[in-house]
Amino acid sequence: MTEPILSARGLRATAGEHVLLDGIDLDLRPGTALAVIGRSGAGKTTLGWALQGESPPGIALSGEVRLHGTELLELTDGQRRGARAGTTSVLPQHPAAVLNPMRRIGKVLRELATLRHPRRAEQDEAVRGALATARLDPEPALLRRFPHQLSGGQQQRVALAQALITEPGIVILDEPTTGADTLTKSETADMLEDLAARGTALVLLTHDLPLARRLAHDTLVLHEGRIVESGPGTRPLHAPAHARSREILAAEPVLTADSGQARHRPDPVLRAEGLGHRAKDGAPLLTGVELAVRPGWCAAIVGPSGAGKTTLARCLAGLTRPDAGRVLLGEAELAPTARQRPREHRRQVQHVHQDARAAFDPHRPVIQQVARTAELLRNVPRGEALAEAEEALADLGMDPVQARRGPAGLSGGQLQRAAVARGLLAHPSVLICDEITSALDVINQSELFRALEAAKSTLDVGILLISHDFAAVSELADEVHLMQDGCLVESATPHELLTTPRSRTARALVAAAREHHQPPAERGDPQPR
């Protein structure tokens, strides 16, 4: 067996009183993939930082992290960076936050390429290669875009391209596939497999158990900062020994769509008529979208990354001004932008942003921000609003103590749940949910679905669910729309979609999803290939 290139001993991370990581020991060898799974808030992201000898502000590290024999924690910032340069790289959980909003993505990629390739031609080649590896179309127009001109999934893949372009020996991937559609997801998995096969060591921090099963040479289960189980290959994922691991596996959703009894279709509350939107350069992002959201009913939108799902959601919520068509709430036509909508309209149409971290003010406690919705939109007095917020968060499995911290003190999944709670507190008629499960572990996910189910049935909320996760869709949705290139191309029940997809895209996506959820055989102690 080869020597580990990265190893941690007794690694510990604390934020004041809180212990975020405790006594972590691990080894990483070239050409292997280490999967770290665990519930939301278990400390995966923190571990990802710590393995590079870094920590977010306010968090202190102790213990040992050795990279090629160099003890990282003893070095100064500059030395550490020197030691890491070209050796490790990372794909963060929230790619939007790490893309420079003022620089075109091509420029930054090229800058990173110069680290490896002094010559211009080689750099161009490397940029193109990295984009292709990350499953992005390396057309010049894309390279000239700013990060905000990309969809969430595209941003994630740009960040991935950035992480890969320096050809590092170690790549730490924090939820690498959350923004990707099922097809891209499986392509990405292939690509990562390939990468490991060519000798790169991977650290995979994820909730996506099928992905972990597919890639892992070693698996760790993290719970509240401790390693509760570890094993070679994917053993912990097939034969979990620890109660926590079993809990996780038990909650893993399966891709079944019960044909169910066809529910009665209520009259729509929200209707989009001929909605269209163009980018500033004139490229059509949405064309002639006709959509209805019904009370107590969940409509899901699926489609390849970059299809225009977020754009549609934003147009409905009044965050992007549509160029054509109109949005009707009941009989009333909604103003094109949320600023122009009266409060009552804003209350009725709520939107949960794809990027949960960006949607919170870093300076105020999360709980207050959640409670504001009830306070402002339903005129609930402050005290009661806070109580309601606490309750709503508890329903989603969140501890009120955590919620009293600022957003920087919460994990990605925690923030995502807080964002949903914030939207629900408005008691909306329509809740638009843009990728709300991407950072959730399977247990939280089912808690969240229960809460949404409850909202659907008791509050009669109509839900528009945008997701790449067919399991989630099959569980929650009453109808599914397939979006492609800015158009809704197919509508069906989840059962129909999974069983008899009509369009090519649908077939491809479903096939990829099925393959993904098919548990591969257990792999034991793998030989580095």
Partner: protein
Amino acid sequence: MKRVRAVIAWLLVGIPLGVAVLGPVLAGSTRSEAGPLMPPDGAHPLGTDVLGRDVLALVLTGGRTVVLLTGVALLLAYLVSVPIGLVLAGQSRRWVEETALHGLDVLLALPGLLVLLVLAATGRQGAVGLVAAVVVLQLPAIVRLTRSAAIAPGCRTVVESMVLQGEPWWRIHLLHTGRAVLGPVAVDAGSRLILVLQLMASANFLGLGLASSASDWAVLVERNREALFLQPLAVLVPAFLLVALCIGINVAIDRTVARREVVST
């Protein structure tokens, strides 16, 4: 070490402010009773100025107006301009923003000297007139700065969430964004303080604001400028107090801004 630094910073602000507040109580007469520009002696520990006044007494009495007038002028200027800047940055109607900005550019292009001269010549000479003029002259620059600092924070995702949450417009664009621009604005205030101090001092010599014989530090410095090499104390002591005040305030601003930075990240 940290303690020492903090002490130095506070001394820099504290000495001038202390002199400004307590000085008038301790000061002797500021009449001209001796020869002009006398070097220090027993009766006049810091010598005399061009008008034969005791520099020590002048310095002791001269801080109050500096602190008051510049303080009031700066405060007013920011109270008026920052909200305007924020409102402009938060405008969804482009034309309102553009019109206002271009209108302010006119004010910006208007030669300040001409405005001051006209005020002086048309009899609006009191301190109120001067403060008003200073506010008006500083307004466009502050508005532009605030606006440009507020644009980026004003289009962050969190703003969209706040809109959907029904946060009133002013809370988003005045409080939330306002908080984000505090850094640049505070820094601007630090350097503008110096600008305003000097603007006011020179305005006095155009016949605006204080009398040119007032025992105001800034006025003293101007008044005694030709004595820089004859009786340096008459210039250097008030100038030192002013410089200390400026450095002190800027250091204080830096410390607070830095603290905010650490908290926010």
